[in-house]
């Protein structure tokens, strides 16, 4: 099934990139942040599992979380303890890895408002926790952030960060940098006013709030500090919207954060503009569907780049921004690499926000290319949507994105390549006028049916060379690939599929090495750690969910009052999987 897209010439290029890549710190065998490290590489330096022995991978332990729903995100491993956060009701488990059977040290069961179930756009998922200063910090779905003592399991603080009544929920994984915890809301389907908050790690008190749209005073865009590479002017978050539309303009923060200590810059992507009917918000709608770089200390905006101006297709830019140092066009550059829902993969100078490379990594019909001189996509105007435009057909990618931001990619400094779960879905899109009613969805979308893109396979797991913007290899998959990815120094990469397989492939060739049926579709992100016995382990969640279409296939069985017709484009998904909630640990023999 593996497609070798390019041949030997690439290998030498890749080696060049590897030489210039950030040197991997000697791996401590732990996994303390959602993306493994500040750079969000999801690269484990452990080497025991190799292409030669991967076929002997086998499960050594499993645990039912007792919760159904999309098991996104990843566990943490700190001080020989594994921490697992479940979807709503957001139970936190602490497993003792030093004992046979990994018994629980404790579990923490927060009181989470069940009304959040109806305010979460996309299942009741949670994307995981971060560790810092002896605390496990994560978000509850109902708009609270909690810090739990990593040893005792006692709650240290609990802060209300988001307003459920305004349509805000908080499934994202916080990032901890020094003494700050960074949190943002979901709610691009509810017309929120998106923000990022910094909390004090010791007390949970909110230190600063930066909005993603609105006047400079709220966006924290200060003269002299804010220097976007492409845009000029002040109050861009105000002037690029109709009067007051920004107040319900969406622009959520539901993806991943990364941090560059050298630049002292925090990076995150923002989501769609509200509502989905773009005719109700003429203008670029800054900073929706953008990447923002802020100083973590005071939140000051340093640069911002809008990937999809006047976003028409629910192309959130919440995907992870992976930091690497790569040789691009003959020059060593400090870059961030971002695989966007809009189908383009961006290699961006992370010090300035300049786009160096932007190439499609999946079929794209809404734009022909990204103009590197202006940073703007060259849009096919026939693909613009809106209430007055009726049903606009065959837009690729679909609003699920060419890659779900919920499925973070990984980067191997050894190969210099990125390993990415991708979707090959296109859609029709029929917008309509919508009224903002507080506490209810604010969408304006009548219908957006999907169909498989060119080739017919709805997904692929690919290796990507971000220095040139080229696919290196691709493993086609029948269904969209919705899991995170893991790269390891042993030269093996891992991902999972919606029909419930967890898979290993050779990082250099894309040759499938091993697979195991984990009981439910995989939407979580695998990790690797070194156990007390010195062995390398791989952990992944199974448990399909995290999006309406993953439920529309009627993969659930727990509610007799809710039976769904299958989704047209994936009629047989429920033949292969039902909802679940398992933690799996694997090792080689």
């Amino acid at each position: 099934m593996t497609q070798r897209v390019r041949a030997a010439g690439l290998v030498s290029l890749a080696l060049l990139a590897a030489a210039a890549a950030l040197p991997p710190a000697s791996d401590d065998g732990e996994w303390t942040l959602p993306g493994k490290d500040y750079a969000a590489t999801r690269f484990s330096g452990l080497t025991q599992i190799t292409p030669a022995n991967a076929a002997t991978l086998h499960p050594v332990w499993s645990f039912s979380t007792g919760v159904l729903g999309g098991h996104e995100g990843q566990p943490l491993v700190v001080h020989q303890t594994m921490y697992v956060v479940t979807p709503f009701p957001n139970v936190l488990y602490a497993f003792d890895l030093t004992q046979e059977d990994f018994p629980l040290k404790w579990k923490y069961r927060p009181d989470v408002n069940p009304s959040a179930i109806g305010t979460a756009c996309c299942d009741v998922i949670n994307r995981g926790a971060a560790y810092g200063d002896g605390k496990i910090v994560y978000n509850l779905l109902d708009g609270h952030t909690v810090a739990v003592d990593a040893v005792s399991g006692k709650e240290v603080w609990k802060t209300k960060t988001a307003e459920l009544a305004d349509g805000e929920t908080t499934p994202m994984a916080p990032l901890i940098v020094k003494q700050h915890v960074f949190v943002g809301p979901s709610g691009g389907e509810f017309g929120i006013h998106g923000w990022l908050k910094a909390l004090d790690l010791a007390t949970g008190k909110v230190v600063w709030t930066a909005y993603n749209e609105g006047p400079d005073s709220e966006v924290l865009a200060r003269p002299g500090t804010f220097k976007p590479f492409y845009d000029k002017g002040t109050d861009l978050g105000l002037s690029s919207w109709p009067a007051d539309a920004w107040k319900h303009g969406g622009v959520p923060v539901w993806g991943w954060l990364s941090y560059d200590p050298e630049q002292d810059l925090l990076y995150y992507g923002t989501g769609n503009a509200s509502p989905y009917n773009p005719e109700q918000r003429a203008g670029d709608n800054k900073w929706a569907s953008s990447i923002l770089a802020r100083h973590p200390g005071d939140g000051a905006l340093v640069w911002a780049y809008q990937l999809t101006p006047h976003e028409n297709w629910d192309y959130d830019a919440n995907a992870e921004n992976i930091l690497a140092d790569l040789v691009v066009k003959g020059q060593r550059r400090k870059v961030l690499v971002h695989f966007d829902k809009n189908g383009f993969a961006y290699t961006i100078d992370r010090t300035t926000g300049e786009v160096l490379v932007a190439e499609p990594f999946a079929p794209v019909t809404w734009a022909t290319r990204v103009d590197l001189a202006t940073g703007r996509p060259v849009v096919d105007t026939a693909k613009y949507t809106g209430a007055s435009r009726g049903n606009v057909e065959n837009i690729c990618p679909s609003l699920e994105g060419a890659k779900s931001p919920a499925s973070p990619a990984s980067f191997s400094p050894q190969t210099g390549w990125f390993y990415v779960s991708t979707n090959n879905l296109c859609m029709d899109y029929q917008a309509r006028q919508v009224t903002h009613i507080r506490g209810t969805p604010y969408m304006g979308l009548d219908n957006a049916p999907y169909h498989a893109g060119p080739g017919g396979n709805m997904g692929a797991f690919i290796a990507w060379d971000a220095t040139t913007g080229r696919k290196v290899w691709s493993i086609p998959e029948k269904y969209p690939v919705w899991s995170g990815s893991l790269a390891t120094a042993g030269g093996v990469v891992f991902y999972g599929t919606l029909d419930g397989w967890f898979k290993a492939a050779d990082a250099r060739t894309g040759t499938p090495l091993w697979k195991f049926k984990v009981g439910s579709g995989v939407v979580g992100a695998p990790i690797s750690y070194r156990g007390p016995d010195g062995k390398q382990y791989i952990v992944v969640y199974s448990g399909i969910g995290g999006d309406w279409f993953l439920l529309a296939g009627d993969v659930r069985s727990d509610d007799p009052a809710d039976v769904r017709p299958p989704a047209d484009f994936a009629k047989d998904l429920a033949r292969h999987t039902s909802q679940g909630g398992m933690v799996w640990v694997f090792a080689v023999k």
């Binding site: 756009c121 969408m443 007799p560 769904r564």
Partner: protein, 144 residues
């Protein structure tokens, strides 16, 4: 036991008075479990538009206008929130039960619309939902 009954009767009477004024009437549906086997007192909820086609059409428009389809999907076939067109009801299938779900909301995320929708509009939504045809093959999904 007698004491308990007297107490319950006394509290029940008091409760009934309060209910008439401020507290939402309790939910009635077939699967509801009543403590002591006694159904709570509740006001009669009769759908004034039951089976009226025009009201069902109006209700369908309200279903979109009030953003119901944002969660329950187009045609109420299910989205983030349950399918309302499968003939199955978590909180009861009687018109009055559906009315209460919309008017007062439900604890697992259904917002209360009673504050912004007059009772007549809620009944039209109920009439719309009850008008949706239930597919024959709901219980069985087969791939062969």
């Amino acid at each position: 036991m007698k004491k308990l009954l007297v107490l319950l009767l006394a509290l029940g009477c008091e409760r009934a008075n309060v209910t008439a004024n401020t507290v939402p009437p309790s939910v009635r549906y077939d699967a509801h479990v009543n403590a002591g086997g006694l159904a709570p007192l509740a006001g009669q909820l009769r759908n004034p538009f039951a089976q009226d086609r025009k009201s069902a059409t109006d209700g369908g428009q309200l279903f979109a206008a009030m953003n119901c389809d944002g969660c329950h999907g187009g045609g109420a076939a299910g989205g983030e929130a349950p399918n309302l067109a499968d003939g199955r009801w978590r909180y009861g299938s009687a018109d009055g039960a559906i009315y209460q779900s919309i008017y007062y909301g439900r604890p697992r995320g259904m917002p209360a619309y009673g504050g912004i929708l007059p009772p007549a509009a809620v009944w039209k939504l109920v009439t719309y939902l009850r008008s949706l045809p239930v597919p024959d093959d709901v219980p069985t999904e087969s791939w062969r």
